[in-house]
Subunit: 207 residues, 2 copies
């Protein structure tokens, strides 16, 4: 019984866990490449060298696999957005998020494909994506308010809402252009935009 309590590197679930992670990564790539509808269980299974049946055995259904992919993606993203930083420093940390995205193209491909697909109310990832956007927006607003209270920036309440939405839009929009044409200088454009945002936010009597 003791061996069964916690799966470890030597424990009984070692292979299962490793395999599961392999499948999730394969699925992320395939969904990023072909979308959720276009990416088939067969393709995903073939890339890790297992049968479609084994894959289904692990995740129950294609939708179960999607949930695992989205969960994994949240974890990967969360690691690289600064949760310990506050106020303006939080937005300065967004540069590192972009650097991370640049090095993990598949991750952002997955996210934007899912987001566009999930504009349909029947898409299985719709709730997840909606929540994700709400969380990001509220996070931006919260940190801008913090920055205002500490005197770092000078923004009214409606300006905070506007700037939060705009920054989100710029991030998504630049990433979209970069996906279509990888020669677009994503990091350069975003850093410049962030510089000007911060400059604008910190200017006294801005508007």
């Amino acid at each position: 019984m003791a061996e069964l309590s916690t799966p470890t590197a030597r424990g009984p679930y070692r292979n299962g866990i490793k395999r599961r992670q392999q499948v999730v990564e394969s699925a992320s790539n395939v969904f990023a490449e072909f979308g959720y509808s276009g990416g088939s269980i067969r393709t995903i299974a073939a890339r890790v060298g297992i049968s479609p049946a084994t894959l289904i055995q692990h995740f129950g259904s294609k939708e179960g696999l999607l949930e695992a992919v989205l969960e994994d993606w949240t974890n990967q993203s969360a690691v690289h957005f600064p949760d310990d930083m506050h106020g303006l420093a939080y937005f300065d940390g967004a540069r590192r998020v972009m650097d991370f995205h640049l090095k993990h193209r598949g991750l952002i491909e997955l996210f934007l494909t899912m987001t566009a697909e999930a504009s349909s109310p029947v898409h299985p990832a719709r709730n997840f994506i909606q929540r994700r956007y709400t969380d990001t927006y509220e996070g931006f607003v919260r940190h801008l308010r913090e920055a205002r209270e500490s005197g770092e920036v000078h923004l009214g309440e409606d300006e905070i809402a506007y700037e939060a939405r705009l920054l989100m839009a710029v991030m998504d929009g630049l990433e979209l252009q970069w996906l279509i044409d990888p020669s677009v200088d994503l990091a350069g454009l975003f850093n410049r935009c962030l510089d000007e945002c911060i400059r604008r936010w910190t200017m006294p009597s801005d508007r």
Copy 2:
């Protein structure tokens, strides 16, 4: 023979043309809703009340139908972007583009879904989308240069490139947020952003 030369409202192709347009509109909606992979010939045909076989007869293949959809979409978009305006007035006309998008949600859903899907090199709409982005970017740059030459704005060459990319990003990004959450005030946010862009561009010795 005379009756066959040009299809008119009374000509022999009248029904065919009307039917064809119906199918293209249905396909636009279905592709917008489920993406290209997820949208099936069967669904598209059912919505216009014809058989899948008839649809294929008209367009040859699913990819042929996609081409017709993209062509139609270009025509619809082109009508509402001001080709007769130049310099700053051109960007002011972008407000009307947004108003048009707001009233034709399916069109923008189609565009953004296609764009995200087409980040994959094997997607049949990839070339089309790439060209579309290039054209838009070059259009923005051209009109900003015109505005500089006529003394309307004060921007360096690299600032023009930056502002063009950023405005494109804001449009796509705000539209994406609006698709996910229709309560987002797309027109309001964009108009405010455009106001500030124009204000920034027209400021002497901006940077």
